[in-house]
């Protein structure tokens, strides 16, 4: 039971829900950037929600199936083909031994999740199959998939071809995408004016946007509250004594271009952070293409927790719809 890679796409990696527990050693949890899309794909093909699938960035791979399987593609929207026949996204479809799965050009979003019945069965590293390329962990020998790779599949469960996630339960970023931020961490380091214009400005996603973090540009630079730099922090006003970075934290090196750390975050460093994107909105970042407009929206903890519960309810509704 396996799938052979004919073309890998631009950057396609094996991802599951990640390997929490090693961030204190600089090994991030990793896993699908859009976790909801991964869960949905797995539900559709009868896998456990945390099974490993392929995360394809901007461009789909071409895969030859060596056995019959059920497949679902969620997340980014791109035309899906089994041989020449087009398939629907967010919907389980069958693929026969000898057939080829391929993709057309990206229409919206940034990352497509290709879930296959049985799940990708590459060897787990530290409890997860997620590819963490920086540490050469997980996936296929710790790297993105390449032409000629043979991806082993696990034991398939039961699934219904034609099952589909109701459109109202699919979630993608709007335009401009709104990312809700809870201010904190080193928020006090910038002036009141900067605290206001950070949320007023229209930002765009910079080309430097990957699994480690997303960079944003075109907003006004942030002004710092003056101080004598603490011993060990470094001379730039945006420097701190190297500390831990939360997932989703917004650091602004030099006060110019904010970076939101994502699933493959560096675990710490010497840049101040002005707050953290709330957990409910992290998936949306994984679907942002470079150059799209983004607004940061200031929220409090109650809003963050409400959003978290709404998101959990959405996943529950998806489970109920696909039962």
């Amino acid at each position: 039971m396996s799938v052979k890679v004919i073309k890998p796409g631009l950057l396609t990696t094996v991802q599951d829900l990640g390997r929490p527990g090693y961030f204190h050693l600089g090994i991030p949890m990793g896993g699908a950037m859009d976790r909801l899309a991964l869960r949905a794909g797995n539900m559709l093909v009868g896998n456990d929600e945390d099974a490993a699938a392929l995360e394809a960035v901007f461009m789909g791979p071409e895969l030859a199936f060596e056995a019959d399987a059920v497949v679902a593609v969620t997340g980014a929207e791109m035309p899906i083909f089994v041989d020449d026949e087009e398939q629907q996204g967010w919907t389980a479809f069958e693929i026969k031994a000898g057939q080829v799965l391929s993709f057309g050009f990206l229409k919206s979003g940034a990352r497509a999740y290709i879930a296959i019945s049985g799940g990708i069965d590459t060897p787990p590293a530290l409890g997860s199959r997620s590819t963490y390329a920086i540490g050469a962990l997980g996936g296929v020998n710790g790297r993105a998939i390449a032409a000629e790779d043979v991806l082993p599949l696990g034991q398939a469960g039961t699934s219904k071809t034609g099952a589909t996630v109701p459109p109202e339960l699919r979630r993608g970023p709007g335009s401009p995408a709104e990312l809700r931020v809870l201010p904190g961490l080193y928020w006090h380091r910038i002036t009141e004016a900067a605290q206001e214009h950070f949320f007023e400005d229209d930002w765009t996603v910079a080309p430097e946007a990957d699994r480690m973090g997303y960079r944003f540009r075109n907003g006004r630079p942030l002004e710092f509250v003056e101080r004598e730099q603490p011993f060990g922090a470094g001379s730039d006003p945006s420097n701190i004594v190297d500390g831990c970075y939360p997932y989703g934290s917004v650091q602004v090196p030099g006060g110019t271009e904010p970076i939101v750390l994502h699933r493959d975050a560096v675990s710490g460093g010497g840049y101040f952070m002005i707050g953290t994107v709330i957990s409910a909105d992290m998936d949306l970042i994984g679907q942002l293409q470079p150059h799209v407009p983004v607004k940061f929206v200031k929220v409090d903890m109650d809003t963050a927790l409400d959003a978290r519960h709404e998101r959990a309810a959405q996943i529950d509704a998806m489970r109920a719809a696909l039962r």
Binding site: F23, G26, S267, G268, G270
Partner: protein, 291 residues
């Protein structure tokens, strides 16, 4: 020192023990993370100690962020009362200073450096008031270092030298980070040394390289078979300057699977250290030469 608590979104609490780096702040931070671990608070998923701060990741579906915060604050006094003493290990780490590989890399990224006409070591020596690079290198390896944080990427240790603040070496990071750093580069930024565990981007000055692997995802290295990451906060390191011949010899041993780092168990007591820095360091170094 004034402890500051802040939420990092709905899943993290960030605790800054002090704005500035000191051994006192490091010890208090480490004591607090130990206290969190020992108290088994429900919902805690990750405990990440840093140099003068730490971070807790928790599941807000299990414990409300405000309750989590209250639990942490309760532990502060326990941590303050904790003995600033630990049983740890000292490890001798061989360093080939001024090696050809970091030299090649630093020349490639010269336009990102404060001093495009010199080397990282020449720059660091000058701004720290040393007449020669050799004197600076001597100051870098003369006294032991504390691993005050492990992180950034894959098992990378940050190290803080066990000397008075007046004798701390301070070097700014590159003006703009490099896109490349050789694996196992011994780096320097702010008041911290580090060892780059993997090849990749970096902003720390580059002083040399060690032949001793500290991260091995395949776990083939003889002393990394149990776990792929070598360092943990609280480890003590003594740099041992080596030349090319010694570097090549150790590398061969590493490749043959026969290299074993020199390690000794030691006691470290912060109060005793503050009373007698020279004496404490002499004892630490001595431990490496016994047995």
């Amino acid at each position: 020192m004034k402890t500051r608590y802040s939420f990092g979104g709905d899943e993290h609490i960030f605790v800054e023990v002090d704005e500035e780096m000191s051994l006192d702040a490091f010890f208090k931070s480490l004591s607090m993370t130990n206290a969190v671990r020992d108290s088994n608070i429900e919902g805690v998923t990750e405990i990440c100690p840093a140099n003068a701060s730490f971070q807790i990741k928790f599941d807000p579906d299990q414990i409300h962020p405000n309750d989590m915060l209250a639990e942490l604050k309760k532990l502060e006094s326990t941590a303050e009362a904790a003995e600033k003493r630990m049983t740890t290990r000292i490890i001798e780490v061989p360093v080939y200073y001024n090696d050809p590989w970091t030299h090649e890399t630093l020349m490639r990224f010269r336009e990102r450096h404060q001093d495009p006409d010199g080397t990282d070591l020449e720059y660091a020596a000058r701004i720290n008031g040393f007449d020669t690079v050799d004197q600076f290198i001597e100051a870098h390896h003369a006294n032991p270092w504390f691993v005050s944080m492990v992180g950034f990427v894959s098992g990378l240790p940050f190290l803080y030298q066990l000397v008075e603040r007046e004798r701390q070496l301070q070097v700014p990071k590159y003006l703009r980070p490099r896109t490349d750093t050789p694996k196992l580069t011994v780096g320097y930024g702010g008041c911290f040394s580090c060892i780059y565990s993997v090849r990749g981007a970096g902003g720390y000055q580059m002083f040399g390289i060690t032949p001793m692997p500290i991260f091995d995802p395949e776990q083939k290295t003889s002393y990394l078979k149990d776990f792929m990451v070598f360092f943990k906060p609280g480890d003590i390191v003594k740099w041992n300057p080596i030349d090319r011949t010694e570097y090549d010899r150790i590398l061969k041993e590493v490749e043959a699977g026969t290299y074993e780092p020199k390690i000794a168990e030691v006691e470290f007591d912060l109060d005793a250290f503050n009373k007698d820095i020279e004496g404490t360091n002499a004892k630490l170094k001595e431990a490496l030469n016994v047995g």
